[in-house]
């Protein structure tokens, strides 16, 4: 490795002072690469044993020095200590630049520029490592939920899917350490299959503007990253233990990293999370427990001009689904909704019975980079993912132990990116991505395939240019093109095939054979998806920044939208897709105004998103079957408009005391039908008072209020069903959103330094302090049970 510390003498002031020992050395410590001011860098003088830490502005001052030559040592987290001779014959001011791409553990650095900007003209919101450590027991969706403009689509409280600016599922792309997650994200009860304890940083971009990742993220992109390993001989780790009363469970996560001065490193991480039945304020939520395990291994070499990294991670989760939500038809639904509490309430148990999910996700990845002098930085990645999803229903006879759904999705992804500085003021990113995906639906389930067998090929190329016109003004433009080819083998029911006229439109794709009342079809579909982005970033009055971004995104329909055809047990409804769908296209305009004053900072982010051929699923009919009546939900394409604003602000009330305010609002409209879009998040506001005193063992106290308004814009999808027992027609109210609710929560933590290398953080949290009963409009189980009651949680973290 080359030198880590370089000293520049920038200014030497000449102030004559009498010949006593009252000289000073002062200055700042900054990052060589991006000029971030480094807090808590240690500056010491060996001869006098004086030692100081830099403040939040990276500044330091050492006083009472005589006219002499001194040895100054500058160090920062995980940099190798280096010492330099400084001659003092008057007050010396110096700027120390550290080469600093090698930190871990230190939260202050995480707030700096360890992770580069993903996009320059659209708002990106980060979740720090500290916050992730506090949320060790939560899911990715729960953590993202804390960002204004991000909400979640829940199935119970353990299956949590992120919604960004009102959009979810295939419209939200999750980049897991460089690789796009392919975990069957099309289903509304399919949560992201990753453990937040494996990542160190999360960035959310609302919208599709970061084209290097994807062109179809109409909702937004969630980027998770792991921090770089220090280039020095070191062995360090972290263990977090949490324990919670609600669900009577907790998590244990531990990681250990070994690094060498040569740049080599190795890292191992593992987590276990276990919960039994959770409780609502008035009753136990039978069969809502979960059991999650994850393991990740990583190794490689990290140098300034090149590096590579090999990693493997395994994630396995078993999730129980509220027993009372498993229904046999519309009549059961009426009973369940009208009963006021779940129809099945048993004693607490850790057992996970049907209905449940058992998902395993493997991710193996190799990536490397090389910096070329005249070309820039070239990145290469290859990733293999296997996602195996088993869904268990309440079944009968020999099938009792068999899953009703068994899908295995294999994905190979390859990426090649070039990031070059084409001039002092302009950057160009170019890249090409390739993906091959194959889905296998195991027929041994004895249930017709919900998602058919298919092969999918995707190739994408992109280019993004940004140009700095002045210190204040930056312009960005990018374009991407994706080609997708889908080769599918699907059995259709003859009755559906004929009723859709597919027998005339698609007679060419039928494969000969006698399959009883089914038809085997071989659709081969091509999708061409252009996407583009352009925007400006303008800084003014020192503290203000204005971002404007336009992005065009286009998304090919997913397998669920194209091929659904049959009863979706977990939703107790019949879902029908359409083979003739084309891609949906979004035009999003987003404006961001930011101010970063010490006493008051804010971000206001209004946006509008027009989506042509937006694919939605909604009820159209009630179908009579021998099992009873079921509501039929059909996918259709329409034109939609989403209009919203996200607000974030922070006031410094007093020293160490901050008030945070968040507000988000989104209004979704089906323009073609002039009615509200279904499942749009209700407006919500979060207000918190935070006391944080660094000097007092970093004491952190937070009292937070979350208020969720009642969603008053919704389509009426209620339907009527005949109940034989009472001989009446009953209305099944599946539309009316629940009332507004207010939750209060408390978080606290305190740090203890055990010795030089070991620190302990102890946290205590209470959520839903008043044990309020409430339902969330975007929880699919809201008809059958209340949301979670009060929870006490203890979180202990040891860094070593």
């Amino acid at each position: 490795m080359r030198l880590h510390i370089i000293i520049f003498l920038l200014i030497s002031s000449n102030i004559t002072i009498s010949q006593n020992c009252s000289y000073t050395i002062s200055g700042t410590v900054i990052d060589l690469h991006d000029f971030t001011k480094l807090e808590n860098a240690r500056v010491s003088i060996l001869e006098t044993n004086q030692e100081v830490l830099t403040n939040s502005e990276g500044q330091f001052m050492i006083k009472d020095l005589c006219k002499d030559n001194y040895t100054v040592e500058v160090s920062h987290a995980f940099c190798v200590n280096k010492s330099y001779k400084v001659e003092v014959n008057n007050n010396v001011v110096k700027e120390f630049q550290l080469e600093h791409h090698l930190e871990e553990l230190n939260e202050i650095i995480i707030k700096g520029k360890t992770y580069s900007d993903k996009i320059k003209t659209n708002l990106e919101t980060k979740i720090s490592k500290d916050q992730l450590d506090r949320s060790s027991a939560n899911s990715l969706g729960d953590v993202l939920n804390t960002i204004s403009g991000v909400s979640s689509l829940n199935t119970g409280n353990t299956i949590v899917k992120p919604i960004i600016n009102g959009l979810h599922s295939s419209r939200v792309v999750i980049m897991n350490d460089g690789i796009r997650m392919e975990d069957q994200d099309w289903g509304s009860e399919h949560a992201p299959n990753m453990d937040i304890n494996t990542v160190d940083n999360i960035t959310v971009i609302k919208g599709a503007s970061a084209l290097q990742y994807s062109g179809n993220a109409i909702g937004g992109i969630v980027i998770t990253e792991t921090s770089k390993t220090p280039v020095k001989d070191s062995l360090y780790g972290k263990t977090i233990v949490t324990s919670a009363t609600n669900g009577r469970g907790g998590t244990l996560t531990s990681q250990l990293t070994k690094s060498f001065e040569s740049g080599w490193y190795g890292k191992v991480q593992g987590s276990v999370k276990r919960f039994g039945d959770f409780t609502a304020p008035d009753y136990s939520l039978t069969n809502s427990g979960m059991f999650e395990r994850s393991l990740s291994l990583r190794g490689g070499i990290n140098r300034f001009s090149s590096g590579f990294d090999v990693s493997y991670s395994l994630y396995k989760v078993e999730t129980g689904i509220l027993r009372a939500s498993h229904l046999g038809g519309a009549a059961d639904q009426v009973r369940a909704i009208n009963s006021g509490q779940p129809l099945v309430i048993n004693d607490f148990s850790y057992n996970i019975n049907a209905p449940s999910q058992d998902v395993t996700h493997h991710l193996a990845k190799i990536k490397g980079f090389k910096k070329f002098k005249n070309l820039g930085k070239l990145d290469f990645q290859y990733g293999f993912q296997q996602n195996n999803r088993l869904e268990f229903d309440v079944r009968r006879g020999d099938d009792k132990e068999n899953p009703s759904l068994d899908l295995r999705l294999n994905t190979h992804t390859i990426l090649l990116d070039l990031d070059s500085k084409i001039s002092d003021t302009a950057d160009l990113k170019l890249g090409v991505t390739g993906q091959y995906q194959t889905n296998f639906a195991d027929p041994r389930t004895g249930v017709r395939r919900l998602i058919p067998d298919y092969d999918k090929y995707n190739v994408g190329i992109y280019g993004i240019l940004n140009k700095q016109f002045s210190n204040k003004l930056l312009f960005e433009i990018g374009a991407r093109f994706d080609y997708t080819y889908l080769d599918v083998l699907k059995f259709y029911r003859l009755s559906f095939w004929n009723s859709r006229d597919y027998n005339t439109i698609f007679q060419d794709i039928v494969i000969d054979g006698d399959f009883g009342n089914q038809v085997l079809a071989n659709p081969k579909l091509n999708f061409y998806n252009p996407s583009a982005t352009t925007g400006i970033s303008y800084k003014f009055k020192d503290d203000y920044k204005l971002l404007f971004n336009y992005s065009l995104a286009s998304r090919a329909p997913n397998p669920s939208e194209l091929f659904s055809e049959g009863l979706h047990h977990s939703a107790s409804r019949i879902e029908l897709g359409d083979l003739q769908f084309n891609s949906e296209t979004s035009h999003k305009l987003s404006l961001t105004l930011q101010s970063n004053k010490d006493t008051f900072s804010f971000t206001v982010n209004p946006y509008i998103n027009f989506i042509r051929d937006f694919i939605i699923i909604e009820p159209i009919d009630v179908r009579q079957t021998i099992r009873g009546n079921f509501q039929v939900w059909e996918y259709r394409q329409t034109n939609a408009q989403l209009l919203g604003v996200d607000i974030n602000s922070a006031f410094n009330l007093a020293e160490n005391l901050t008030f945070n305010h968040q507000f988000s609002l989104v209004k979704g409209q089906d323009i073609s039908r002039d009615e509200a879009l279904i499942s749009m998040p209700a407006a919500s506001t979060t207000n918190a008072v935070i006391y944080n005193k660094k000097k007092l063992n970093n004491l952190y106290l937070k009292l937070q209020s979350d208020y969720v308004f009642e969603q008053n814009e919704f389509p009426n999808n209620n339907f009527e069903v005949f109940i034989p027992e009472t001989e009446t027609m009953e209305t099944v109210d599946v539309s009316t959103p629940p009332s507004a609710y207010h939750l209060l929560s408390f978080n606290s933590s305190i740090d203890f330094n055990m010795n030089d290398k070991t620190s302990l953080t102890v946290g205590f949290d209470v959520s839903n302090i008043f044990n309020s009963s409430y339902q969330n409009y975007l929880n699919r189980l809201r008809y059958y049970a209340d949301d979670l009651g009060r929870n006490y949680l203890i979180n202990v973290k040891i860094n070593y």
Partner: protein, 185 residues
Amino acid sequence: MKNLKFLTLAFLSLFCVTSCSDDDDVVPAPVNEEEVITTLIATLTPDGGGTAIVLKTQDLDGDGSDAPVVTVSGAFQANTVYNGVIKLLNETEDPAEDITEEVEDEDDEHQFFYTIGGGFNATTTYTSFDDDGDNLGTTFTLNTGAVSTGTLTFPLRHEPKKPNTGLVDAGGETDIEATFNVAIQ
């Protein structure tokens, strides 16, 4: 030189992934729903002999778009005791699978109910029970009263609360629900 090697390797792998992935089209096996109940046949024979009344509902495409076909062979005699037997079939398989056997094997997890509606003047009594002595209802007796018309519904509940006082507190989910328009002459 080293740079060139790196680039070449990168591009080679790209080709490998896209070209290795040509899967041959193996025709997948069709799935015939194993659990589906397509048919319910309730046969009610007069106590002491006579013409049996057969109530049948058949939905061969399961949850597909075709509605069930419901037939009633005739009207009941007034003031008569009928011995009823319910049979469940999965006719998507050949030969048809008798689902009644499965229900009887798991008798503690199933129960038939008999819902009389619309003025149909009759009463029912369970004659088959599970191992705990609770109602199962695959067989029953129907006592007809005076001349009348109405409906007779057979809901089959999976995992109901047992014992129960009727559909209201039984819980569980509906596996089948067949309603017949019936008459007493």
